[in-house]
Symmetry: C2
Subunit: 77 residues, 2 copies
């Protein structure tokens, strides 16, 4: 089974990478960009039947820094 | 309007970051992880009515390196 983990910065946490992307988009002439936030996407190929709780455990222990980041898990198939 | 851009490495492209995550998960005792691929998630807050074509243009020109990466756009609201 496959699972996707989306890791995003909590609101209020400064995001210099997002700011840099925002600035670069404006430099390329893209108007109408209000804000950009950068996050991570981690695609896991797991043994069949891995419980959601185990994936959440992976997120808490390694994939996300829960002090400053939120995570969302999406199971695929 | 908001849009999410998912940038993933094309299959066949080596992914050292994913490999490192895989190794670290095993080190933490998580069994049954077959593969890990790391990608990027970019959340855009755009002016209302920004066409899909413009977002694709942003991806091709800046957000993704289309030689080695695929991108997928998801419009939210």
């Amino acid at each position: 089974m496959k699972a996707r983990v989306f890791v995003t910065l909590k609101s209020g946490v400064l995001d210099p990478q997002g700011k840099a992307i925002h600035h670069a988009l404006e430099g390329l002439g893209f108007a109408g960009v209000n804000d950009v936030r950068a996050g991570k996407l981690i695609e896991l190929d797991l043994a069949e039947g891995t419980p959601q709780a185990v994936i959440e455990d992976m997120c808490r222990k390694l994939l996300a820094n829960t002090v400053i980041e939120n995570f969302r898990i999406e199971q695929v198939g």
